[in-house]
Amino acid sequence: MTRSMRMVVLVIGVAFVGTALVWAALYMPGFGGDWHPYRDHAAAAALAHATANVVSSVNFDQRALDTFGEESILLGAVVGVAVLLRPVEGERRRKPKNTGHVLDSTRLLVVLAAPVALILGIDVVAHGAITPGGGFQGGVILATGLHLLYVGGRYSAFDRLRPLGLFSQAESIGVIAFAAIAASGLAAGGAWLANFVQHGTLAQLASSGTVPLLSGAVGLAVTGSMVVLVAHFLEQRLLVWPPRSEESASAKGDEGEERI
């Protein structure tokens, strides 16, 4: 298909889908209305299990099975990226060059912000059942806090500070812990992912049964997978790609050698 032909198809498709979407929007429940049947049921179910944060209740209690699937998707993505970014034939790794310049103000900001980000991440994971947050959000904050060290320093130093094996283990342990809690629900509560732990008092740290446990497991898995994912991409920066073919090698040869 030529480019102009593709544009014709695009215009027809966009016009058709756009019309259909606007037409569908006209028959949607009005924006901002008070008819939310799912909300009413989810809120009642969250109250029954003493979970203050209804979103966490949906994610880690009422529909925890979906979250398990989501965590598996995350694991699958990490495995997929690892497979896709494996070294190809003729690829070499060069030593990281320590020539970059980091501003002192950047360093200072990183020194101040990294511990805050780590504490905030732990806080968001731990309080997922009672305040906004949970395993996914907290895990991403934790991984971000770690990578602040990369922004404020050298890659080689960051590479030594970050035990990658530990993070891939953290990821697996997170997924296994989720499955173990789910199976414990089967043993103690009679159903996969049953909320079998004492529910406690609403809005207390140790409330809502298995929700904080599952949230912690997800936080561990998300931190691990984010760190491993970013590590794969950062590592690509250090790879010297193999020469393509005769023509491209001769055309770009000098420039390529220069970069190494």
Partner: protein, 115 residues
């Protein structure tokens, strides 16, 4: 204007699709896909919104959940964001591999290379 947010979601989706179709760089196409997917965040949050609604978090059991925005939609949006992040990372990894194998990230050139 009770349909306005839904139309915004539709426009974001179509802008993303147009970007993918017109793309001359696979990284650009991946980002456009992320834009298209972010339309679903707008749509889900719009569906769950209620005028004067509060965050779906109880402070004590006496609080009646009458004016609460829909937590199910927020949970779905969270799932959506996670899936979007994984898809983006996988596609970017694919793009790196394509760049290594074919020395180009232009979708049009890729086709001519493969014949």
């Amino acid at each position: 204007m009770t349909v306005y947010p839904y139309v915004v979601a539709a426009v974001i989706l179509l802008l993303g699709v147009i970007g993918i179709a017109r793309s001359r760089n696979l990284v650009h196409a991946v980002v456009c896909l992320a834009v298209a997917q972010s339309a679903t965040y707008v749509l889900l949050i719009s569906i769950g919104y209620q005028h004067g609604g509060v965050a779906p978090i109880f402070s004590s059991s006496s609080t009646a959940p009458k004016h609460m925005v829909d937590p199910v939609m927020q949970a779905l949006t969270l799932t959506d964001i996670v899936v979007s992040a994984t898809v983006t990372s996988l596609l970017l990894a694919l793009t790196i591999q394509i760049a290594k194998q074919h020395d180009t990230v232009d979708p049009d050139e890729l086709r001519s290379l493969r014949g």
